[in-house]
């Protein structure tokens, strides 16, 4: 077990590609596998900010929603025909939103930061709600066409669930590789230094405001890509994408899996989605059970599932 765990720790990107190549055949049904990939990516972005930088955001829905609406509006309203361009629009919107909101939210630290991210995300939700000519308002954004993927020479249809899964697989895989690259870089080391002791990071001469903003923007970018992929998966963007419950979901997924661990977000997304799927089959009150399980994890198992297995970060001062 420990040898296997050590191998996983040394080769996380390779592990991702091996596990998720066969993942659709492991889970009960294939659409769950796609959901795990997309929400796993969302949680991965959240984890970069919380697990690695120590900044607890309750507003991740903003960037997920910006990604989803950016891509959705490009396809459904602006009639963009290139899937790549539409994905780019979603990604751009999320990055821009992350830069602007990040600037404001990072003016305060610690617990204030959590409340500010929540407030700004809620601001965006209300804007989305009222701008119904663009966003569809309460009904959600409908009419996102399913496009074929325009590779020069050979177009690939994404209509088959498995084709769409592997499309996500490649993109999420690239994101995972990028995250690994970020964490291994000197920049990644500074992130973790800020998490451990931000005053000391300042004393070492790092411009931690800039580093934190970058981490925020990267996190928004991952969330935006995840949101954009989800818009393609559902072919509609529900207004709840921007609601605080979406932020709550990603917080729960990440902590269930294990904050500050590389695979925690994917483990947590799997646990959450399987739980939601099983529970909602026989009770409408499934959030009650998930909320109770989540609270129990905070109390008794703060390292989360994956963190408990491999031993990870938890519970230091978030500065």
């Amino acid at each position: 077990m420990s040898a296997a765990a050590a191998w996983v720790r040394r080769h996380p990107v390779l592990t991702f590609f091996v596990v998720f190549a066969i993942f659709p055949w492991v889970v009960p049904y294939k659409s769950l596998a796609t959901q795990v990939l997309i929400y796993g990516l969302f949680a991965l972005g959240f984890n970069l900010l919380y697990g690695y930088t120590g900044l607890l955001s309750f507003g991740a829905a903003a960037y997920w929603g910006l990604g989803a609406y950016g891509t959705g509006i490009a396809l459904a309203k602006l009639k963009v025909t290139s899937l790549w361009l539409a994905l780019g629009a979603g990604l751009g919107a999320a990055v821009l939103g992350g830069a602007v909101f990040g600037f404001f939210c990072l003016r305060r630290r610690g617990i204030y930061f959590a409340m500010l991210t929540l407030a700004f995300a809620q601001l965006l939700y209300f804007i989305g709600f009222h701008l119904s000519s663009w966003t569809g308002g309460d009904d959600g954004l409908r009419g996102i066409p399913q496009l074929t993927l325009g590779f020069p020479g050979f177009p690939v249809s994404l209509e088959k669930p498995l084709a769409f899964y592997y499309f996500c697989f490649v993109l999420v895989g690239l994101a995972v590789a990028l995250l690994k690259r970020i964490l291994d870089s000197p920049f990644g080391a500074v992130l973790q230094a800020i998490r451990e002791n931000s005053d000391r990071a300042v004393a070492c001469g790092y411009d931690i405001d800039r580093v934190k903003l970058l981490s925020f923007v990267f996190s928004a970018m991952f969330a935006g890509l995840a949101g954009a992929l989800d818009a393609l998966r559902l072919t509609v963007v529900p207004i709840e994408s921007l609601y605080w419950t979406t932020s709550g979901q990603v917080v729960m997924m990440t902590l269930l899996g294990g904050a500050g661990t590389f695979f925690g977000p994917f483990v947590g997304a799997t646990a959450f989605l399987v739980l939601e799927d099983r529970l909602s089959a026989f009770t409408e009150s499934w959030p009650l059970v998930i909320g109770a399980i989540f609270s129990a994890f905070v109390l008794f198992l703060p390292r989360g599932i994956w963190g408990t297995i491999i031993g990870g970060f938890h519970g230091r001062q978030s500065a």
């Binding site: 407030a119 709600f129 109390l299 519970g315």
Partner: protein, 294 residues
């Protein structure tokens, strides 16, 4: 733009005062708990909702609004004590994020439980007959119950101020918020102080809930939006500052109420814009000291 008569505007100012009162009660509870224990109680909105539902149950069982008004906040406060004792206390000494995360999970549990017990459709709370009509204020008629809410808020704030300034426990609470280590060294049980304060803070949330009940009814999601707005109130006022909570609560009550009057679509958004402006001008809030748990 609607026809702006001075009377209509004045009525809107009074409406803003009522809304501000509810904000103040919620924000002061949040701020009290935070200032002392550095705990952000995410379940504050869920407890506010419980205040309204408890009020509904007591009102239908006893028929007395007075009993409901007194007992509902007491029951919510008692629940708050249990939460502190069994859920928050084990987390002392860990990251300040942990109580926030835990109470977030708790709020899901409470809201879903309320939905199971009382259903998905909101329940109406009738104000007592004596407060049912409207009062002629000279320039406009204003619902008597809303004036009553303003009065209760004012009385409770005064009582809280006297309690904190004039009693021994109040002195201990203020001392413990300034320097808990020193208070402990002097032989006082700081844990007990935290316990009591958590009860008071959550009780105030329950009071806000029962007061809001007759105006908005009781429904499971009622705490969701208002908890986020209360966070904004607290951030604008300055975290941990009680004066800040009062001033900022009343201010934001006016801002929301007047925006509802002039530009209804912006009413939900203006709170956050207001916060962004304050943050740019005064990052630590109107009355906040920089550095408190940052």
């Amino acid at each position: 733009m609607p026809d702006v008569s001075l009377a209509a505007l004045a009525a809107q100012v009074f409406t803003g005062l009522v809304l501000g009162g509810i904000f103040v009660l919620l924000a002061i509870g949040l701020s009290l708990i935070f200032g002392l224990m550095t705990v952000v109680n995410f379940s504050h909105g869920a407890l506010y909702m419980l205040g309204a539902y408890f009020g509904y149950v007591l009102l239908t069982r006893t028929g007395s609004f007075t009993i409901a008004l007194v007992l509902a906040p007491a029951l919510v406060g008692a629940l708050g004590l249990l939460v502190e004792r069994f859920l928050i206390r084990p987390l002392y000494g860990r990251s300040p994020d942990d109580p926030l995360l835990l109470t977030f999970g708790l709020s899901l549990v409470v809201v879903e439980t309320a939905r199971l017990i009382w259903g998905k459709i909101g329940l109406p709370l009738d104000p007592p007959p004596a407060l049912a009509g409207a009062v002629n204020l000279g320039f406009t008629y204003f619902p008597t119950y809303r004036l009553f809410v303003i009065a209760v808020t004012a009385v409770v704030l005064l009582a809280l101020w006297l309690f904190l300034e004039k009693t021994n426990i109040g002195l201990l609470i203020r001392a413990a918020s300034r320097d808990p280590l020193m208070v402990r060294a002097l032989g006082f049980d700081v844990g007990r102080v935290w316990f009591i304060v958590f009860g008071i803070g959550t009780g105030l949330a329950g009071l806000a809930g029962i007061l809001a009940g007759p105006m908005r009814g009781a429904y499971a999601e009622m705490g969701v939006t208002i908890i986020i707005e209360s966070f904004v109130v607290v951030v604008v006022g300055g975290m941990g500052s009680l004066v800040g909570a009062v001033v900022s609560g009343l201010l934001i009550g006016q801002v929301v109420s007047l925006t509802t009057f002039f530009a209804p679509k912006l009413a939900e958004i203006v709170v956050f814009i207001f916060m962004a402006v304050i943050l740019l001008l005064r990052p630590s809030g109107l009355f906040g000291e920089a550095g408190l748990l940052e």
